[in-house]
Amino acid sequence: MNPEGYLVLSAILFAIGVAGFLLRRNAIIAFMSIELMLNATNLAFVAFANYHGNLDGLIAAFFVMVVAAAEVVVGLAIIVAVYRARRSASVDDANLMKF
């Protein structure tokens, strides 16, 4: 089928991810929203790969997954470290560098 449907779905998921990142103040949920955005772009990559008939899009999606895995590991470690120091996972409470 046409990639347009996939691209629209990808855009919707990306917008929901943006909304989640901007609205939610729990650091873990904000992080999940970032993952949602990465997944949305992956879907667009795969749809375009299928449309153009070459595998470079799949390779791009594969590398996005690798980077996402590394990012999640470090990001969650930071969340745990901040939680240890401040007993809170809210992004509002980590305001030491606020001007």
Partner: protein, 272 residues
């Protein structure tokens, strides 16, 4: 002749999975607890995996389920458990107009992206990955041929990235000792001091009870007068209420003694 013309399996997969993905994403956005958000996220990832499979990408389908749903989401759940399952978001706005403007930005961005897709509409049927997949005899060999030729340097760079991420996570998540660790001598002195001042027993705690049918750590030891030695069972187990009832433990012995006594009486009675 098919009843519904021009409906392929991949279209069916799309129209089934796309609404599920959107509903799950909205659930992720709207649920208050992080655990519920994680479960919604799993729904999004699995439906996206099905869409990858519908797009002739079996390798990414498997990777999506193993890496995203299996590994990354489990990591999220671990951290949710660590950081507190019942920590809900506060609904108080810290910045005035933050929520409205955030929703406007998200809707605007989504609308812009969808309009952009409509503007530069891609024409014609998709080429499909069948040919590209068949080039080296399958999806995975073809991906590998590409990965280890054109993208080999990026692939090697990801090795450095993953090692850095692993080391960074270990350093960040490693807890620092806040108080000095007591040495053996210090703990011994503390124990003797507690005995001198408060009369706390300095020796080891009594072990749990050993009965004919039970010797688990939840069975209390009995004192000579038949009462329970409180210190012989862990406080945690006592709080959970899983301590075995002493009378239940004693019951087989008591009944055995009663039976023996009865038999003895019988035998002695025979003698007389």
């Amino acid at each position: 002749m098919p009843l519904i013309p021009l409906v392929t399996a991949s279209e069916v997969a799309f129209w089934v999975c796309a609404p599920i993905a959107v509903v799950c994403a909205l659930g992720l956005l709207l649920s208050r607890k992080p655990v519920h958000s994680a479960i919604w996220m799993a729904g999004v990832m699995v439906s996206l995996a099905v869409l990858y499979a519908a797009n002739d990408a079996p390798f990414l389908f498997v990777i999506q389920i193993i890496v995203y749903t299996g590994a990354i989401l489990m990591l999220f759940l671990f951290v949710v458990m660590l950081v507190g399952v019942d920590s809900t978001d506060s609904v108080v706005e810290t910045i005035r107009g933050h929520r409205v403007s955030a929703i406007l930005v998200a809707i605007g961005l989504g609308g812009l992206l969808i309009l952009g897709v409509g503007q530069f509409a891609v024409n014609g049927a998709p080429a499909g990955l069948t040919e590209a997949n068949a080039e080296h005899g399958g999806n995975i060999p073809s991906l590998a041929a590409l990965l280890f030729s054109r993208y080999v340097f990026i692939f090697e760079a990801t090795a450095a990235l993953l090692i850095t991420a692993a080391v960074g996570a270990m350093i960040l998540a490693h807890g620092e000792q806040l108080t000095k660790k007591a040495t053996q001598i210090e703990s011994l002195q503390e124990r003797v001091r507690a005995y001198a001042e408060d009369g706390v027993h300095p020796g080891p705690l009594p072990s749990s009870g050993v009965f004919a049918r039970h010797n688990a750590i939840s069975t209390p030891a009995l004192l000579p007068d038949g009462t329970i030695a409180e210190k012989s069972v862990s406080k945690t187990l006592a709080m959970r209420g899983v301590i075995v009832d002493v009378n239940e433990l004693r019951a087989p012995t008591t009944s055995a003694y009663a039976a023996i006594a009865g038999k003895t009486d019988e035998i002695e009675g025979d003698d007389e």
